[in-house]
């Protein structure tokens, strides 16, 4: 058993739980990637497919977790990590199949019964979103930046005293890497990358289209504001906790403390706590604040129905609309956002996400060859 295989084994139930719970956070007028008019949200096919999805994905998560833990414990050495990774990929494939089964059945009934026939399909916006835009909670970045500064300072203090070879990465395998500026401070670069990536993405989200319901534009704009504020704060907390996890891994690699056996996953706990918080906030608010009521419940309703936009969502999950200037749009499944891959600017963002780690791998490889 290695800490690497335990880490992947930990991801199996986490992924399974997230996928299983996703319909609970999704907007009720989008069921498994199918746009549904508000009066059809409780249709028999929707209720039936939701129930079937929960059972199917729960069974997938249970089986995959049992298989992953068994492999992580039973298979010795490095091979278990790859076997558990294969289990994770199989779980992901099975989960997508569960989604697709529900999607296909609901879409077929919607098409056959003409759910949108005769409905006034509208797109609504509240211009106050632009004239009085929400403010990004910059202060919530301070913990993450403080952890990064602490990591860099500890690395600088430990650097002279480190041996010629140090432990590398998260894995508990015997892998050692020559001591160099790059190998020691790689963790700080990883912290900076994660923090900058998610902060940058959220800054784009703050300038993007709010998720507004045509039937209730004013109230849904207020709900979206509360959703965005809550989810951003939870995400920035998660980022700070991921940085703490990376700091704990770095401290072990820099021989500040030692862990063995199953305890090697302890540095993952802050990350797990942050993820739990984010999921809890996502489930409480629902996509775009669809589960929030409170003081915005009594506002007047406008009376339109959200436009049937299924044709722009490939496989029910991927948004491709060349005529839409939006780069980031609300996700179709679960709570959060996704990219409009029909927009060229979205590909620049994807390139921006891939470039830093790819560059770091190249730099690390070159530095490794030079030393």
């Amino acid at each position: 058993m290695s800490s690497g295989s335990l880490g992947v084994a930990f991801a199996v139930p986490v992924l399974g739980t997230l996928v299983c719970l996703a319909p609970a956070a999704t907007r009720p007028t989008v069921q498994f990637g199918v746009r549904v008019p508000p009066e059809r949200v409780g249709a028999p096919v929707v209720r039936q497919e939701r129930r079937a999805y929960y059972w199917r994905t729960a069974a997938v998560a249970g089986c995959a977790t049992a298989a992953a833990v068994t492999l992580a414990v039973a298979v010795p050495g490095h091979g278990s990590r790859w076997l558990v990774t294969i289990v994770l990929l199989l779980e992901l494939t099975a989960d997508h199949r569960c989604f697709w089964l529900a999607h296909r059945k609901i879409a077929a009934v919607k098409e056959a019964d003409g759910w949108f026939a005769g409905l006034k399909q509208t797109v609504a916006t509240d211009t106050s979103w632009r004239t009085d835009p929400p403010k990004f909670p910059v202060r919530w970045l301070i913990p993450a930046l403080a952890v990064i500064a602490a990591t860099a300072a500890t690395g600088a203090l430990r650097y002279p005293g480190l041996p010629a070879h140090i432990a590398s990465g998260f894995g508990g395998r015997a892998g050692q890497t020559p001591k160099s500026f790059v190998s020691v401070f790689l963790v700080v670069a990883a912290q900076l990358y994660i923090t900058a990536l998610w902060t940058g993405f959220m800054l784009i989200v703050y300038r993007s289209r709010p998720d507004i319901e045509s039937a209730d534009p004013r109230a849904s704009t207020l709900r979206y504001r509360r959703f965005l504020a809550a989810l951003t704060r939870a995400l920035l907390t998660l980022i700070a906790l991921v940085d703490v996890s990376l700091l704990l891994v770095a401290l072990r690699n820099w021989q500040v403390y030692q862990l063995s056996g199953a305890r090697q996953v302890l540095p993952l706990l802050p990350f797990a706590a942050g993820l739990l918080l984010l999921v809890a906030v996502g489930l409480r608010t629902g996509q775009g604040g669809s589960r929030l009521n409170g003081n915005v419940h009594s506002l007047a309703r406008a009376g339109g129905t959200d436009r049937d936009d299924d044709r722009f969502w490939k496989a029910g999950l991927l948004y491709v609309n060349r005529d839409d200037p939006a780069i980031v749009v609300s996700a179709r499944f679960g709570a959060g956002w996704t990219l409009n891959v029909g927009n060229r600017a979205a590909w620049l963002i994807i390139a921006g996400i891939i470039a830093p780690p790819a560059g770091l791998i190249v730099i690390a490889a070159v530095a490794g060859n030079l030393t």
Partner: protein, 142 residues
């Protein structure tokens, strides 16, 4: 201001955007001096082409209702409180109203129904006390 359009409806999208903004100015939701989103922002929020919003804003600029600036974006240039209407505009509006009434007559709508509908629509908007006369062809300086 809430702005709602029917992307798949029979009326062109730029016309719908223009009409909704005129209605918002008329009912006091967008008073003179108030800001509207930039063309790019409104295009993103409605999921329509940038040029569509540009066309609507340009139409409103030509009609004297919006002021478009590079830095300040779009700002409402006039409303009911900004004084009497331009006589040339009033004449043009009267011609369009005539066509609209002709359509109603051709479709067999009784004059009393037209009056009732006009009264109902009038109640939705803010009219200055003297402006009711301007619509009757009163000549006034721009």
């Amino acid at each position: 201001m809430l702005l709602s359009i029917e992307p798949d409806g029979p009326v062109p999208i730029y016309q719908q955007i223009r009409d909704r903004i005129v209605e918002a100015i008329a009912d006091g939701r967008q008073p003179v001096g108030s800001a509207l989103p930039s063309t790019r922002q409104l295009a993103v929020d409605l999921g329509v082409n940038f040029h569509t919003v540009n066309k609507a804003y340009d139409l409103l600029r030509q009609e004297g209702l919006l002021r478009l600036g590079r830095g300040s974006g779009a700002v409402v240039r006039r409303d009911a409180s900004s004084g009497p209407a331009d006589p040339a505009w009033t004449q043009d509006w009267a011609a369009r109203l005539r066509t609209l009434l002709a359509e109603a007559a051709a479709h067999g709508l009784p004059a009393t129904d037209i009056e009732l509908k006009c009264q109902a629509a009038t109640a939705d908007f803010d009219f200055p006390a003297a402006a009711t006369q301007a619509g009757n062809g009163r000549e006034s300086p721009p």
